[in-house]
């Protein structure tokens, strides 16, 4: 029984700071290596790419195999605009406009990932 466990240790500040630092480093790497030229988005259903849409022309569409989910492309951005899933996490993700950005609808097993014309560093990493 360790009743004397502390709520906060002096060294916990180091833990919090190093976690924040690692977050900052990943964020900076992302900002540095993300591309903005000729963006397109891969739409994956059950893990396989079923569609690649360029983000330059505006349109609203659904996949033939998934009529209950609607995507919208406009002004170099893509979003889930409608889905029949209960949690609506995909719709709340909003428009994606930076390479490497992702949004997913788990109940429907569908995900979007924005990428530049050439594969970026982030595609290689997990």
């Amino acid at each position: 029984m360790r009743a004397n466990r502390k709520i906060w240790n002096g060294s916990d500040g180091i833990l919090v700071l190093s976690l924040l630092l690692s977050a900052l480093i990943v964020w900076l790497l992302y900002a540095r290596f993300s591309k903005s030229d000729e963006l397109s988005a891969d739409i994956r259903l059950n893990g396989e790419v079923v569609m690649t849409v360029p983000l330059d022309a505006g349109k609203v569409f659904s996949l033939d195999r998934l009529p209950n989910v609607t995507f919208e492309v406009k002004d170099g951005k893509i979003a889930f605009v409608h889905s029949d899933c209960p949690d609506q996490i995909c719709v709340h993700s909003g428009f994606l406009s930076v390479s490497g950005q992702t949004a997913a609808c788990l109940p429907n097993r569908v995900a979007i990932r924005v990428r530049g014309k050439t594969p970026d560093m982030v595609d290689a990493a997990v």
Partner: protein, 168 residues
């Protein structure tokens, strides 16, 4: 396993089920698959700190089964992945640092591991790598949620003591 302990674990599981049901009725705090406040982690964390890690693993697996039943199999899988990674992380920290590990440190690491595990499962299910892009958000939200849950746990400790430790 004696009857007292079996009863304790059953009570913990009951509380976990209620908390996880309440949490699923609330809107998701961030639009990222699997990122959640982790209300039921309060009980799982209590179990890691005051019982054996294997009891916490059992609770996590049963909780994932419950989530799969009330939500969807995919949600259960996310819960299982996040829960196991979280308990594993906290159990290792408790084993290494023993009494020196603070509630907040254990809770923050557990929360980050939990959301990371859920996001890893979501990435695997959709075939889309999401962990790296959302990593900074996971860290920051993990720190905030971890502090909230550990403060809640320490505030509730007297209640838990009365429930689970009235006599030795």
């Amino acid at each position: 396993m004696n009857i007292r302990k079996l009863t304790y674990l059953a009570m913990m599981l009951a509380i976990i089920m209620v908390l996880s049901f309440i949490e699923h009725t609330l809107p998701s705090p961030l639009p990222i698959p699997g990122v959640s406040l982790g209300l039921s982690n309060i009980v799982v964390m209590y179990c890691v700190f005051f019982f054996k890690p294997r009891d916490a693993f059992a609770l996590t697996i049963l909780k994932a089964g419950f989530v799969a039943l009330i939500r969807a199999p995919t949600a259960g899988l996310l819960s299982l992945s996040g829960g196991l990674l979280s308990v594993l992380t906290m159990a290792i920290l408790v084993y290494v640092f023993r009494g020196k590990l603070s509630y907040i440190a254990g809770s923050i690491c557990g929360a980050v591991a939990h959301n990371m595990g859920q996001l890893l499962a979501a990435s695997a299910l959709t075939g889309t790598a999401m962990t790296l892009y959302y990593f900074p958000v996971l860290i920051v939200s993990g720190i905030i949620f971890g502090i909230v849950t550990s403060l809640t746990l320490t505030a509730l400790l007297p209640v838990f003591r009365r429930l689970f430790k009235e006599k030795k």
